[in-house]
């Protein structure tokens, strides 16, 4: 699945999805989708679907990390603060592995652009795999750009810092359940020229690699605070 975020969405009006059934094959089927609001494309996506098949078999090892049950939940980490982040990821039980959430680290000296979290939905999901794939597609966007910001003295609400997801690509390798623990191993190899790349790998608790993710994000530093220019900057950005 490959997608671009083109324009800001409007939560107050419906989204029209235009689907191009570009290819129906015997073992591969491909779709192109454009999401439209107010007559303009806000998002476009291409997706390829593959039947079960047989071939070469290998897999990289899962990183050696603490088990999720040994790590504090997000609510406990943020419990003593009034920051809104504690509620952001409410549908998920999230367990951060060192160095922990960016928002709780004032000193980022020496931090690498690497972030590992365990996550699962707070409740049980039906057995339909499509539900689990959609839930993980949603979750896969939550922490990626955070990873690129980890080594840097910026916050997402800084008036001179603009961040946004630009594209999003996912490869689903195997079935999995989103209501069982998944390890999301994220790393940003580069940030340059106002954009950062972040890649992620999602493993089941027993070490099977189930999804790979790559996202490029806007990580722009403004020479002047956004303030009154926020709208103009937003238009120039997205």
């Amino acid at each position: 699945m490959h997608a671009y975020f083109l324009r800001p969405g409007d939560p107050n009006v419906p989204i029209l999805y235009e689907v191009d059934r570009i290819r129906d094959g015997r073992s591969f089927t491909t779709r192109r989708v454009v999401a439209v609001q107010h007559g303009k494309a806000i998002f476009n996506l291409s997706a390829s679907f593959h039947t079960d098949d047989h071939g070469l078999e290998h897999q990289m090892a899962m990183p050696d990390v603490p088990e999720p049950s040994t790590l504090p939940p997000l609510q406990q980490l943020f419990g003593w603060t009034d920051r809104p982040e504690a509620q952001w990821h409410h549908p998920f039980d999230v367990r951060h592995i060192e160095p922990g959430p960016r928002q709780l680290r004032r000193d980022r000296t020496g931090l690498k652009p690497i972030q590992r979290v365990w996550f699962r939905t707070d409740g049980h999901l039906p057995d339909d795999f499509l539900v689990h794939a959609c839930v993980v597609a949603y979750a896969s966007d939550l922490w990626l750009l955070d990873t690129a910001a980890l080594p840097h003295p910026v916050n997402f609400d800084d008036p001179t810092f603009m961040a946004a997801s630009l594209d999003h690509a996912m490869w689903f390798h195997r079935p999995f359940r989103a209501d069982e623990w998944l390890l999301y191993d994220q790393e940003s190899p580069i940030a340059h020229g106002g954009r950062a790349l972040v890649s992620g790998r999602i493993f089941t608790e027993d070490g099977r690699l189930v999804v790979s993710v790559v996202q490029e994000g806007l990580t722009r530093l403004l020479t002047a605070p956004r303030g009154n220019q926020a709208r103009a900057a937003q238009a120039a950005t997205t």
Copy 2:
């Protein structure tokens, strides 16, 4: 840039490119392209273009590898064989780093799905960066699937092995020249269910990361040799 290969191309007829100017922004512009032959889509692509910008700066280190001048050219490696591979990459000067080209390794026991090559064009290119970007887009597809096959006892001409590029994604981080040495560091994190994922990072000789690449490829093992069934299998595959 995100693309899917949908159907086999026909080198005997022109390709019609249908371009959708989906978004013209101030700092980002996006295009969707479908390549058509015989009235059917053979390839589709989305590409996003970004003006020069300023933001967070970090980069992973280039792997520690031998300099290209210390490694034998491909022609020398294949010179004593009559295999056609020696001519395949003719427009490029290619220097393989250990373990060397897959075709020269009969015993692949213990090989990892990791491949590193230096490459540059055989001659000088004009200064237009678009030429250099296009040349590297072409070259970036040459060795990726080889990387996934490295640990396995298969060859691309085996009648029971079917391999093909399924998608191709590239992120251009910085300008570079394709007629100067570039290190292509490739790794396949997974092969499963008839598909393999391979990621690549392209560095200049002085260690700047300039391009990131991800490709998924078909790596299907057939239960019966292709032989007479080649056409049917091809239709089922692509």
